[in-house]
């Protein structure tokens, strides 16, 4: 029988080729910058990362989760058994039966894959991916039939040479796709690169329920700042790009893509793959960047990415909302990559679009993005009698005011929060004019130099004083203080104001009445939710006001960005519609009369939507509205009471 000798030969040669492919692929990754990882423990942790962490993400889609378990599980099992049975020729009925079972399992899985691919949603890439279910079916069916004799179900040599030839063809197809393609660049590449990506992930903290969202600092003395060409990425970032399965979940979630701005996170990752391997995007089989035709992008490991491969507008369209990262079943870090490339554009090219340059200049000259007099930071609180750290040196809570201090709308949120702090008798103080912009916007715009300068000076100021916790109403500052100041010697316990107020309510330190009025929905700020996992406190607080939140279809970790993050309103890349409008439509769909938010940036963006639209209020305002002020004679605490209106 021709298969008897052909099969092992095929298996061996495919394995050999696969190995060669793997070596080649690895060398492409290794062209990236060094990034220390623990290889052994990474590899050891890989199965668990795959089976638990990654599975959590995949399981959000039950259909695909089950399909993938069947197909991938069936395949891995089958391949092991094939090697045992057909390469090493271990004659064991049990193994053969097991192989039959696993190939059936794989076949069943592949059937579902096939079904999904019959009428695939637009987010899925087509092209070779349309072939994959067939390959899976061929592979599993072929090996099922080939294994029948070994299981003793059919006699050896059944079917004659025609069948043998067909089976041989099936073996070549199946192995070619599944094993050869795994390292040479077919759809199955994801299995190989994905597994290693999980092992050598740049943010291992993300596994095991952890969270890692802070950006990594730039070495300002490096010869090139930021990522100019693919090889400027860390090697494990390049590896991560290769892990992409082109499932398009990122694309489906991306607010910029939906708004028709020239960004598609899936395409971006694929462009990175083109960049690291060299080539063009002509064969890309998914949705293009809105407004940009396929086929014109060209790249190579040592070519400047923004000259030919990716249009800078694509990078500037990102709101850094992390919806793509959150959705990615392969745990790829899109935002890191985007900011890395922005860093090059800003720090090396001086090409921050829109009002970017002006904002950065202002941050450098005045420590606030709009160029206001640095000494006017406390004007908003002239009637509040706040304690200032430079005078008191010590307080339980440091209230980080953030640049909302300069904005009339945000001042209302700040006042509401101060009113609550006072009502709860919290011992708190502010930095006053010693506070500076947190650096969030500078960093997202790629100006890590300015970010670092602000961060270092802020840390130096804060480290002079004693406080237990920092509370802020600004999720962006919250994130930066909590997750990004550590690199500069600032280690703090930082709370978002909703978390803190929720604590006060639970401890009974403030008494609340009930919210009056109609339906309320809640918009999760990206930097509070996805970046920091705080979904519950705001909702608990709203519940404490007697509000039953009418949830938007996209809420919690799937919340849609307001369009205000990542400096997007500053760079202002045109699209077909505005992200904030879409978000307001989400809110309208719930029939809400009021959108509760916990971020002044979100407030500004959502209030920028033309009326009629639901009212927008920060949770602090809602709570302050129904605060039951204690019956203590007012004269006692004259001057200490807050102000709600102006």
């Amino acid at each position: 029988m021709i298969l008897d000798w052909l099969l092992p030969v095929l298996l061996l040669s495919v394995l050999a080729l696969a190995l060669a492919g793997a070596v080649r692929r690895v060398s492409l990754w290794r062209a990236g910058q060094p990034s220390p990882v623990n290889i052994i423990s990474g590899l050891m942790a890989m199965p668990r990362r795959y089976l638990v962490d990654l599975h959590h993400v995949v399981e959000r889609d039950k259909y695909m989760s089950n399909t993938h378990v069947a197909t991938a599980g069936g395949f891995v099992l089958s391949l092991v058994l094939i090697l045992l049975v057909h390469l090493f020729g271990i004659e064991s009925k049990l193994l053969a039966w097991a192989l039959l079972a696993s190939s059936v399992l794989m076949f069943v899985g592949a059937t579902f894959v096939y079904k999904r691919r019959k009428n695939p949603p637009s987010r899925l890439s087509k092209g070779p991916w349309m072939r994959l279910p067939k390959s899976l079916l061929v592979f599993s069916a072929t090996f099922f039939i080939i294994t029948l004799p070994a299981a003793g179900i059919l006699p050896e040599g059944f079917g004659g040479w025609v069948l043998a030839l067909i089976l041989a063809a099936g073996v070549v197809w199946g192995l070619g796709e599944m094993v050869f393609g795994m390292t040479w660049g077919g759809p199955m590449k994801h299995a190989f690169a994905g597994a290693l990506h999980l092992a050598f992930h740049r943010r291992p903290e993300r596994f095991g329920g952890g969270r890692s969202t802070g950006l990594k600092p730039v070495d300002l003395d490096a010869p090139v700042l930021g990522v100019q060409k693919p090889t400027d990425f860390k090697w494990n970032q390049l590896l991560g790009f290769d892990a992409c399965v082109q499932c398009g979940k990122c694309e489906a979630m991306c607010p910029a893509f939906a708004a028709g701005q020239p960004l598609n996170p899936k395409k971006l990752i694929q462009d990175m793959v083109i960049g690291l391997a060299g080539g063009t995007d002509a064969k890309f089989a998914g949705s293009p960047y809105p407004g940009i035709e396929l086929g014109n992008a060209k790249g190579g490991p040592d070519s400047t990415i923004t000259e030919g491969l990716v249009n800078p507008d694509t990078l500037w369209s990102c709101t850094t909302c992390r919806a793509c990262v959150e959705e990615c079943p392969m745990m790829i870090e899109h935002v890191d990559a985007i900011v890395d490339m922005r860093r090059f554009l800003t720090l090396e090219k001086g090409n921050t679009p829109g009002k970017g340059a002006e904002v950065l200049d202002n941050l450098i000259a005045t420590d606030n993005p709009n160029g206001f007099e640095p000494g006017s930071r406390m004007n908003w609180a002239a009637d509040q009698n706040l304690k200032v750290m430079s005078e008191v040196k010590e307080a339980d809570v440091l209230f980080w005011v953030s640049d909302g201090a300069f904005d009339m709308r945000s001042q209302r949120i700040l006042r509401a929060f101060v009113k609550l702090l006072k009502a709860a008798n919290v011992d708190f103080a502010v930095l006053g004019d010693e506070e500076r912009d947190s650096g969030d916007v500078a960093r997202r715009l790629g100006d890590d130099a300015t970010f670092q300068s602000l961060a270092k000076r802020n840390v130096a100021v804060m480290n002079q004083y004693r406080f237990k916790r920092i509370v802020t109403t600004d999720p962006h500052a919250f994130h930066v203080l909590k997750n990004e100041y550590g690199d500069f010697g600032g280690h703090y316990e930082v709370l978002h104001h909703t978390t803190f107020i929720n604590e006060l309510v639970k401890e009974g330190r403030i008494q609340l009445g009930a919210h009056k009025g109609g339906t309320v929905t809640y918009h999760d700020p990206c930097y509070l939710g996805r970046y920091n996992g705080e979904y519950e406190s705001p909702r608990e607080l709203l519940a404490a006001l007697g509000i039953q939140v009418a949830e938007m279809e996209r809420s919690g970790f799937r919340s849609r960005c307001c369009g205000g993050g990542g400096g997007a309103p500053i760079t202002d890349i045109p699209g077909e519609r505005r992200i904030a409008d879409m978000r307001m439509e989400d809110a309208n769909a719930t029939g809400a009369e009021l959108v509760a938010v916990g971020c002044q940036q979100c407030t500004a963006m959502l209030e920028g939507v033309v009326e009629p639209r639901p009212e927008v209020k920060d949770i602090a305002e809602l709570v302050a509205d129904v605060l039951v002020e204690s019956a203590e004679p007012a004269s006692r605490k004259r001057d200490e009471l807050a102000v709600e209106v102006a």
Binding site: T346, G350, N351, L360, D361, A365, E373, P374
Partner: protein, 258 residues
């Protein structure tokens, strides 16, 4: 772009109006921008002062490989050193700001240089539209957003107005890496300036109505009267064409029709 042109842009240390921090000066940066657009990286940027001044990096960050600094101590009269340097190097065009953001802010530098070099000076330019056959076509900024076209032969000195194209963003990396080349240069102490007495500017509200009337009743009337001209020409019964013509003539006479 005409890279064969030898353009020198003079820069000074600016000052942010709100924070008082040193920065690149708005007009000087526009001069550099214009220079970059005219002759690319070949533009020579020159400062007279201290090479250690950090804010010079923000000019360098506009894409300069190097920035030349005529070393001067704090009390020196920079225009002397600059004039000396320029007569030695004889560039085609010297670009400056109109007025410095720090120091005396007299705006005399371009005038002194032009006088010293014996070159024509074009003031408050918004753009250099074209340079051909040794002659430049220049757009000069006038009050009220107006523009005037001027032709002048090279070499010349020009002061760059705020109406000129805004300077490009200064990038941190190149700014760090650019070479700040200190050149020890002749210096002369500014004796006159040494006698100046400087203090923060006193607020000076614009003059309100001046009521010089002598009697109480006149002062009272002057304060409460509406602004009225009186004695204007009134056309009541003329046909619209004639009325329009009168208006039109006035517009022509006042020279507001262009």
């Amino acid at each position: 772009m005409q890279p064969e042109l030898n353009i020198v842009a003079l820069v000074s240390v600016g000052q942010h109006p709100k924070s008082g921090r040193a920065r690149r000066a708005e007009q000087d940066a526009r001069a550099v921008e214009l220079g970059l657009r005219l002759s690319g990286e070949k533009v020579q940027v020159l400062h007279a002062g201290d090479v250690a001044e950090e804010s010079l990096r923000s000019y360098a960050g506009m894409g300069l490989k190097q920035l030349r600094v005529l070393q001067q101590s704090a009390g020196a009269d920079a225009s002397l050193a600059l004039g000396d340097y320029l007569s030695e190097h004889q560039p085609d065009i010297v670009l400056t700001g109109v007025r410095a953001e720090s120091g005396e802010s007299s705006g005399m530098t371009p005038y002194l240089l032009a006088e010293k070099l014996g070159w024509p000076l074009v003031t408050r330019i918004a753009d250099i539209a074209k340079i051909e056959n040794g002659e430049a076509e220049i757009l000069q900024a006038l009050p009220r957003g107006q523009r005037r076209a001027i032709k002048v032969r090279l070499p010349f000195v020009a002061s760059v107005d705020n109406a000129a194209e805004a300077p490009r963003q200064s990038a941190y990396g190149p700014g760090r890496r650019a070479q700040l080349e200190p050149l020890p240069w002749v210096e002369a102490a500014d004796e006159v300036r040494a006698s100046f007495d400087e203090a923060p500017a006193r607020k000076r509200p614009k003059r309100l109505k001046m009521v010089k009337a002598k009697t109480a009743a006149e002062r009272f009337k002057a304060a409460t009267a509406k602004s009225q001209g009186g004695g204007g020409r009134i056309m009541k019964d003329e046909p619209p064409r004639e009325q329009a013509q009168a208006i039109f003539d006035l517009l022509l006479e006042e020279g507001v029709l262009r």
